[in-house]
């Protein structure tokens, strides 16, 4: 009888993040996630069309509250996400390294960039209305003001390729959408969903109300078309629509989205060449906004 000297690690059961909770897939199924060399990393929930529809319900229910919070408050919440992510930096370095096949040093740079990206968007929440809106000098005795408002529920096909896609890429598409008051349902990178699923745990402890961000792992070809055709999704970010054909291809998703006239952000011409460390600009921040213009007569 020899004494045990090596402690066995505790594996994590990865779960979806829907409505602020961590359900397993309704399918009861999982799929194997491997690193780029084919090494098994974990089992991820095989999210289904039904899981996706449930997530849209949660996202819709969260719109009123989240879009109704003050911009200052949303900024504080997004900053809180950065704080929580900072605290779990080492975990994410390991997950990103495994997901993207990178060394720890490169992965750490990407995690740091992801943290900083939350900070960037935290600062935008109470500035975007002044940048994107304003008073209009109409030729008459009227008060006339244009303000940006959130589009509503945004379906996101998370980046599946490009430098830093697994965490930084995800943050780069989720944070701008929620910064302006939208809620999102995200089809996670099919082959590398683990950093994203862990991000759900960060969001759940960062004062982000349940339903504002919903994360579904599984087959892109199941989840993305469900988002594209869903009557209660208002916009679609196709950042990670890398399939060339089939139901998950960008053209098919965009065509499906046309039925309800969703606002669509197309993927880059070559999504696998996308460098998510590049400065984000304001394109995504401004993509899921509607301009409302209010008129009122002036007089006594």
């Amino acid at each position: 009888m020899s004494e045990q000297t090596v402690r066995l690690d505790i594996f994590k059961t990865y779960k979806l993040y829907v409505g602020g909770k961590f359900p397993r897939s309704e399918s009861g199924r999982v799929y194997e996630v491997q690193d780029p060399k084919g090494q098994w990393l974990a089992n991820a929930p095989l999210g289904t069309r039904k899981d996706t529809r449930d997530a849209v319900l949660a996202a819709r229910a969260a719109v009123k509250g989240w879009s109704g919070t003050t911009a200052y408050n949303r900024g504080q919440v997004l900053y809180r996400v950065a704080e929580m992510l900072q605290g779990r930096r080492e975990q994410f370095v390991a997950e990103v390294a495994a997901a993207e096949g990178l060394g720890a040093k490169k992965a750490a740079t990407l995690v740091d960039a992801a943290i900083d990206r939350w900070v960037w968007y935290a600062g935008w929440t109470d500035k975007v209305a002044q940048v994107a809106g304003g008073a209009n000098p109409v030729a008459g005795p009227f008060f006339n003001l244009s303000t940006p408002e959130p589009t509503g529920v945004v379906g996101v096909v998370a980046p599946q390729a490009g430098h830093g896609f697994s965490l930084l890429g995800l943050v780069s598409v989720v944070a701008p959408a929620i910064a302006t008051g939208n809620t999102v349902v995200v089809a996670l990178a099919e082959r590398a969903p683990l950093p994203a699923l862990s991000l759900g745990e960060v969001l759940a402890t960062s004062d982000v109300p349940g339903g504002v961000v919903n994360l579904i792992s599984g087959r892109t070809a199941d989840i993305a078309p469900t988002l594209a055709s869903h009557q209660d999704v208002n916009a679609l970010d196709l950042a990670g629509a890398i399939d060339r054909d089939g139901p998950g291809a960008a053209a098919a998703l965009e065509a499906s989205a046309a039925d309800t006239l969703k606002r669509v952000v197309r993927p880059a011409a070559d999504p696998s060449a996308e460098d998510w460390t590049a400065a984000p600009g304001t394109r995504r921040l401004l993509s899921f906004l509607e301009t409302k213009t209010v008129w009122h007569p002036m007089g006594i």
Partner: protein, 502 residues
């Protein structure tokens, strides 16, 4: 020293009192001759000159007030569209590299020529479209000129428009416009496209091509380089060929939601940029503390302006239950004074319905309103014998499920619904796939802002309705489309902002 004229009051003629309360007006017709010469047939305007179509099919445009044929024009073929796109492509390099200050001058010239020729254009528009001369003269044409004047000023200031340094144009813009404000929609499309350095191929609607073809002459008078503006006429087939053309970089469409949807589908998987201004079913919400007389004027302007052929028309009246009777009495009284008839008569309030097809659609939907149980009312008024006419009509007892509360009628038909609380008003107003505009009538400022915040619509008019201005962004939420026309926002659909961002 101000002079006072003490005789003024005494010299005021005494207005004769009328027992009926409705004054008789002598006819005050504008001269049709002021429209200038209308050719018997028109080709397309491509590469700076009028050319014949490659096909032989011709369409006719009629005066909807008389049903008389005004002119024949070409049904644009795919080959015609291709020639026009090629002309626009050829012109693009020089036009886009012209200094913004020079592009601006062309647009200022166009604005000035439109002002100079505004009477001619107003009369021509009334004849071809059927809308009252009072509206073409006082609304359409002043706004057309103002729109060109506004965007002219942007052409050399794009660096400062908030889209990053040196924003670039997209290339060739394909633009398809509707028949309800033919020249104004042309201005909304062409002015920002040219200011930002794009060249355009524009297809006017098949029932109202004449002012667009007259605009081609204005481009020539302004010395606009050949191919910068090309106009191809025809029906939906021509439009589909244009929006599908592989060498256009931008598609801008104003029209119905079903067509907008099909264009969005057509463009899926391309890199063409799309902006859509589609249908609407706006709620005009009247609270019990509203200034009722003003509200009545706003309701009338909201639904009967331009025969109700307005995508942002206030076609659903939501009135607070406690003032329903009072408001409807006043509204009916006011509707009884509306003058329906000759569009060229300066006293006319409601002109002709634009086409037989549109009249049939309005008639069908109004009949559906009755069949579904709503109560129909229209003032007694005589309608001319020839032409397409529809009396201003309102329906009471309308439920949210009725077709007349859900579908865009695009005619002078108002559906009246009621509400009790502001929350209910918001719920009902937003209960539509559309989201173009909304109206709020109340004297309480905080309530206006509370409501405006919750209405899912791109334009909210509070204690006013159907106001437009080139500086004010216009466009919809939800299935009313995307992109904005007017203001700084109106530049974005014509600029390559993605390239700047990366």
């Amino acid at each position: 020293m101000a002079k006072t004229n003490k005789k003024t009051e005494a010299e005021q003629p005494v207005q004769p009192a009328k027992a009926s309360g409705l004054f008789e007006y002598a006819p005050a017709p504008e001269s049709p001759a002021a429209a200038g010469e209308i050719a018997t047939s028109y080709g397309h305007f491509i590469g700076g000159r009028f050319v014949d179509s490659s096909g032989s099919e011709a369409l006719k445009t009629v005066n909807p007030a008389t049903e008389q044929v005004l002119a024949e024009f070409a049904q644009g073929t795919e080959e015609d569209v291709d020639r026009a796109v090629q002309a626009a492509r050829k012109a693009f390099a020089d036009w886009s590299s012209l200094p913004g200050s020079e592009r601006a001058k062309y647009l200022f010239r166009i604005a000035r020529i439109v002002q100079e020729r505004s009477r001619e254009l107003a009369v021509l528009e009334s004849i071809d479209n059927g809308k009252p001369i009072r509206e073409t003269r006082d609304v359409d044409l002043p706004l057309v000129a103002a729109h060109f004047f506004y965007y002219a000023g942007w052409a050399d200031k794009l660096d400062f428009a908030g889209f990053g340094p040196n924003p670039r144009p997209l290339g060739v813009a394909a633009q398809v416009i509707p028949w309800n404000f033919p020249l104004l929609m042309l201005a909304w499309k062409v002015a920002p496209a040219l200011a930002t350095g794009n060249t355009v191929v524009l297809k006017p609607a098949e029932t109202t091509p004449l002012t667009a073809l007259r605009f081609a002459e204005i481009c020539r008078q302004a010395g606009l380089p050949d191919g910068v503006v090309n106009i191809v006429t025809g029906d939906g087939r021509t439009g589909a060929a244009l929006t599908a053309h592989p060498d256009v970089n931008k598609v801008a469409f104003t029209g119905s939601t079903p067509v907008g949807r099909s264009i969005a589908k057509q463009l899926a998987g391309t890199r063409k940029k799309l902006s859509l201004e589609l249908g609407g079913k706006a709620a005009n919400i009247v609270f019990d503390d509203a200034p009722l007389d003003q509200a009545v004027e706003g309701i009338v302007n909201g639904i009967f302006f331009n025969q109700g052929h307005v995508c942002c028309a206030g076609s659903r009246l939501l009135v607070q239950e406690s003032v329903q009777d009072e408001l409807l009495d006043a509204l009916k009284r006011r509707m009884g004074t509306l003058r329906v008839g000759d569009p060229l008569d300066k006293n006319t309030d409601i002109g002709a319905i634009n086409s037989a097809a549109q009249l049939a659609r309005i008639t069908e939907l109004a009949a559906a309103g009755e069949q579904e149980g709503a109560e129909r009312w229209a003032p007694e008024c005589e309608l001319p014998g020839a032409g397409y006419w529809f009396r201003p009509t309102l329906f009471t007892g309308v439920s949210q499920a009725h077709r007349i509360a859900r579908e865009e009628i695009f005619g002078p038909v108002l559906s009246v619904l009621t509400f009790r609380t502001p929350a209910e008003a918001v719920e009902k107003a937003n209960n539509t796939p559309y989201g173009l505009s909304a109206g709020i009538w109340t004297e309480k400022g905080s309530r206006i802002l509370w409501m405006a915040n919750r209405l899912r619509a791109g334009v909210v008019w509070a204690n006013t309705f159907n106001k437009f201005d080139p500086t004010s962004p216009f466009g919809g939420y939800k299935e009313s489309g995307y992109g904005r026309e007017g203001g700084r926002h109106g530049l974005e659909p014509y600029l390559n902002v993605e390239a700047l961002d990366v």
